[in-house]
């Protein structure tokens, strides 16, 4: 499913734009609110003709799809903006990358249909990879983890675990919220790949899922040993999961 290429000279009609970016390296220590501030300033540096709200202290019309926790890297972060006018997708991506610090790379800049809902409101799932950091070991072999995954998650009909929220704790069924979970082997160490329910309704953190597997094996999960990486963010349509930028068009 490829994005449709729109015709040229549509500059003025473009209003909603979705931007996809990567966050890596030391930038994983910059929290969500500071990333928003970072992009607000970057928009100005790149001279993106972004739209401002009305009122005495106008702010840029900008929203992020799904906040990324401190310490997590990503290949699939999204933010939506509204613009007054726009250069082509390629020119805009280039302009933004000219003013990015190392650790943030803009991948795409696409026009959304005028009626499109914000990314934030349609996020349904995200892919994660959890791997062992350099200098750390995981407490079991790949085979042991594969076996445990069968026993704990793949075979049972329901997998109930406790999810702590700010105010209370509740029981959730991982079978309903984990859409895919498998283990790859890389240099003898396991990489846990999962597609998880994400967004405002049923947001599931990958660390919680892996912690549950560790607990089923009688192991203690050490957050310091694991690098969490988000690969992609999806919305759900009748055709199934779509990445958030598949619904945008390249501006020529």
């Amino acid at each position: 499913m490829r994005a449709v290429v729109s015709s040229a000279l549509e500059e003025v009609s473009v209003t909603k734009v979705r931007i996809k970016f990567r966050k890596y390296g030391v930038m994983k220590f910059i929290g969500h609110l500071d990333m928003m501030r970072y992009f607000q300033k970057a928009m100005r540096r790149a001279e993106i003709d972004i739209r401002y709200s009305e009122g005495f202290s106008p702010h840029q019309i900008m929203s992020f799809a799904a906040p990324l926790g401190v310490g997590i890297t990503s290949d699939g972060e999204y933010l939506d903006i509204e613009v007054e006018t726009s250069r082509s997708s390629q020119a805009s991506v280039d302009a933004l990358n000219q003013v990015m610090v190392e650790g943030v790379e803009v991948i795409s800049y696409k026009k959304l249909p005028d009626h499109a809902k914000t990314a934030m409101s349609i996020v349904a799932a995200a892919d994660y990879e959890l791997s062992c950091k350099d200098g750390y070991e995981v407490p079991a072999s790949c085979e042991a983890f594969q076996e445990a995954l069968q026993q704990f998650f793949l075979q049972p009909q329901t997998v109930m675990i406790t999810k702590q929220t700010k105010k209370s704790e509740k029981m959730i069924d991982l079978k309903q919220l984990v859409y895919n979970w498998h283990i790859q082997e890389q240099s003898g160490k396991p990489v846990f790949c999962m597609k998880l329910s994400t967004g405002s309704v049923d947001n599931l953190k990958p660390e919680l899922v892996l912690d549950a597997l560790y607990q089923s094996m009688g192991l203690t999960y050490d957050a310091n040993a694991i690098q969490v990486h988000r690969c992609e963010v999806y919305t759900k349509t009748k055709q199934g999961f779509l990445t958030l930028d598949e619904m945008g068009e390249v501006i020529m």
């Binding site: 030391v26 970057a42 100005r44 001279e47 401002y52 310490g71 610090v101 650790g103 950091k133």
Partner: protein, 622 residues
């Protein structure tokens, strides 16, 4: 990508890891193989404060323009990281290279307020650099101090290899060139310091000896080497148009105190307030050219992406091209999401008109700094503001829709009487009355809100009040109580709020501001006892300081409670700021006579800085 000095494990458990990773937009990373001199610039307070300081941005930019120099930054680690660095013996690192500070050639520390002195020791200690200059070897960086507190460097003289007196733009190139050539020649640290001391503006404390009289005052202050001058002359930039200014300031990821473009419009101040050190040591007033400022405003907004620009100077209303500059900013730069933030301008028709364009009148307030409540007291401190001017400005503001007023005063000024203290709330009450008398009920946006803030006066070196005595903490508190009681007795007490400053901090600031070399032992002692971040009320512990003074046999009252005699040798007398001691004495005597000295534009008071050959001293002669 740069490897961080701290592990993920540490960064994930401390507050605000973004303080320590560098990588900010416009920060400068160079190939260290191509570099001859590594300079680390330090602001000894937390990142968000340090990153807001204009002086470091100017020097950072200036140094990095040289191909052979790499200037990096370091700030005080917050106490959570401080404990980890100590425990795990991780050396403090600079942000850009993430390499230990101790590997640099120079560590430059800016000294903006006395309460950062323990943080200076913290930075040295965590960097694993000996705290005492005399214990350092060729292996250690040259530790340089600069900034306003160097106008009395004596309390911290033991911790620095050298001090730079005055504005950094002038002699640094010569100092770095000297260092480079002497290093290539294989010279020792001592040899370099001796040569450095011969440069104008450079003070090497280890090359001077102080002797004391029996009563504790200074008997002599002399260089140990006859090649070294007995006085050190303040450096200042006479051609601000040619001076470098950072067109691409570093943009922090986390919100710094000053999260905006800062445009310096002039240096110095014509007013001559007798308590104000900056107003004396940055003389003469030098303006920047308005065309250059307009260009810089546009460039800096573009290069940073900041949403706000603010003007910086000691007294912006005295900038002769202010109207042209502000009109340009409001019309050409404002809008498109850029806010103009105005410094405290003199309240008049023009400033209110501009404020209306850039601020929400309902939310904003107008500010007056009369500094003293009575006209008599204002004459003593040479603060030209009159009650009539204040009331006139307030009336204009009230008519324009404002109803919030902030008033700033000092307590504990020389010759202050109970009547002077009570005049503070009386003035606030007058302003409140003016509001209720002049704004009809149906046009009021609620009550008027007047906030009085008082700080306690600390005499500073190189001011006409440098000889004044201070008071014990309980005396300051009782003066604040006089004001507080008087506020409660006012007719409009419900419209007036009163805040006052803490007294212990004031007394300590007074000791450190006018202390001599002997005070250094107590700073070292109190750091060993665990004092850091004294500028933060949650960490400041006056008890620790009292024990440190006692253990070192230092009587704090010697530094605070004495009115000094005019012929006493003051610890900072060896510095030549260009403002003559005769002028300061004359001004002290004028203060005692409650007599006002006109500002520099109205009439030259003969302070001595005319010999620098520029600025306001020559304005009318062009």
């Amino acid at each position: 990508m740069t490897k961080l000095a701290l592990s993920d494990e540490i960064l994930m458990k401390i507050t605000n890891p973004a303080r320590y990773i560098g990588n900010e937009w416009n920060s400068v990373v160079k190939d260290k193989e191509q570099i001859k001199i590594r300079f680390v610039m330090c602001f000894p307070d937390v990142y968000e404060i340090g990153m807001s300081h204009l002086g470091i941005q100017i020097l950072y930019d200036m140094f990095n323009r040289r191909d052979d120099v790499w200037c990096e930054r370091v700030y005080s680690p917050w106490p959570d990281l401080h404990a980890i660095l100590k425990e795990q013996k991780i050396p403090l690192f600079s942000l850009e290279s993430q390499e230990p500070v101790k590997n640099a050639d120079f560590l430059g520390i800016t000294l903006q307020y006395e309460m950062c002195y323990t943080n200076v020791l913290q930075v040295l200690d965590l960097s694993q650099i000996p705290l005492l200059a005399k214990e350092r070897t060729n292996e250690h960086p040259i530790v340089i101090g600069g900034g306003p507190c160097t106008y009395n460097p004596e309390p911290i003289a033991d911790f620095f290899d050298l001090f730079y007196m005055g504005e950094g733009e002038v002699v640094y190139d010569d100092l770095l060139n000297l260092y480079q050539s002497m290093r290539e020649a294989g010279s020792s640290r001592e040899a370099f310091l001796l040569e450095a001391a011969k440069l104008p503006g450079i003070y090497v404390p280890s090359l001077y000896e102080v002797t004391y009289q029996e009563d504790g005052t200074i008997a002599s202050f002399m260089p140990l080497n006859e090649e070294v001058s007995p006085t050190v002359q303040k450096q200042l930039v006479m051609d601000l148009a040619k001076a470098p200014y950072p067109e691409k300031p570093v943009v922090p990821f986390i919100k710094a105190t000053q999260d905006r473009v800062v445009l310096e419009i002039q240096r110095g101040c014509i007013r001559g307030c007798r308590f104000c050190q900056a107003g004396m040591v940055y003389r003469p007033t030098r303006e920047k050219e308005v065309g250059r400022l307009k260009e810089l405003a546009v460039q800096m907004l573009k290069s940073t992406g900041h949403e706000e620009i603010s003007l910086s100077s000691l007294s912006s209303s005295d900038y002769s091209q202010l109207e042209e500059l502000v009109t340009y900013l409001v019309d050409e730069v404002g809008g498109k999401g850029v806010n103009i933030s105005l410094p405290s301008l003199r309240i008049d028709a023009f400033s209110l008109d501009v404020m209306r364009k850039v601020q929400d009148v309902k939310k904003s307030s107008i500010t007056f700094a009369p500094e003293a409540g009575s006209q008599r007291m204002r004459n003593v401190i040479n603060k030209g503001l009159t009650e009539e001017t204040i009331l006139h400005g307030a009336a204009l503001a009230f008519a324009g829709g404002w109803n919030k007023v902030k008033l700033y005063f000092m307590l504990g000024l020389p010759t202050e009487t109970r009547e002077d203290m009570q005049a503070i709330p009386a003035l606030a009450n007058e302003i409140a009355m003016l509001y209720y008398d002049t704004v009809p009920k149906d046009q009021r946006n609620g009550k008027c809100q007047i906030t009085i803030s008082t700080s306690f006066f600390v005499p500073k070196p190189f001011t006409p009040l440098q000889w004044a005595r201070m008071y014990p903490p309980q005396e300051y508190i009782s003066r604040a109580k006089v004001v507080s009681d008087a506020v409660k007795g006012q007719l409009n007490r419900k419209s007036i709020k009163y805040n006052w400053h803490e007294a212990d901090v004031t007394v300590l600031e007074g000791i450190l501001a006018r202390g001599d070399r002997r005070v250094g032992q107590a700073i070292l002692k109190v750091y060993e006892m665990g004092a850091i971040f004294d500028a933060w009320s949650e960490f400041f512990d006056y008890g620790k300081w009292q024990s440190a003074f006692a253990e070192c046999g230092i009587d704090p009252d010697f530094y605070t409670m004495r009115e000094r005699s005019l012929d006493e040798i003051l610890p900072w007398d060896f510095i030549d700021t260009g403002v003559s001691k005769e002028f300061l004495k004359r001004e002290w005597e004028q203060a005692m006579r409650e007599s006002v000295t006109p500002n520099c534009r109205a009439r030259c008071a003969g302070c001595g800085v005319k010999r620098f050959g520029g600025g306001v001293c020559y304005e009318s002669q062009n």
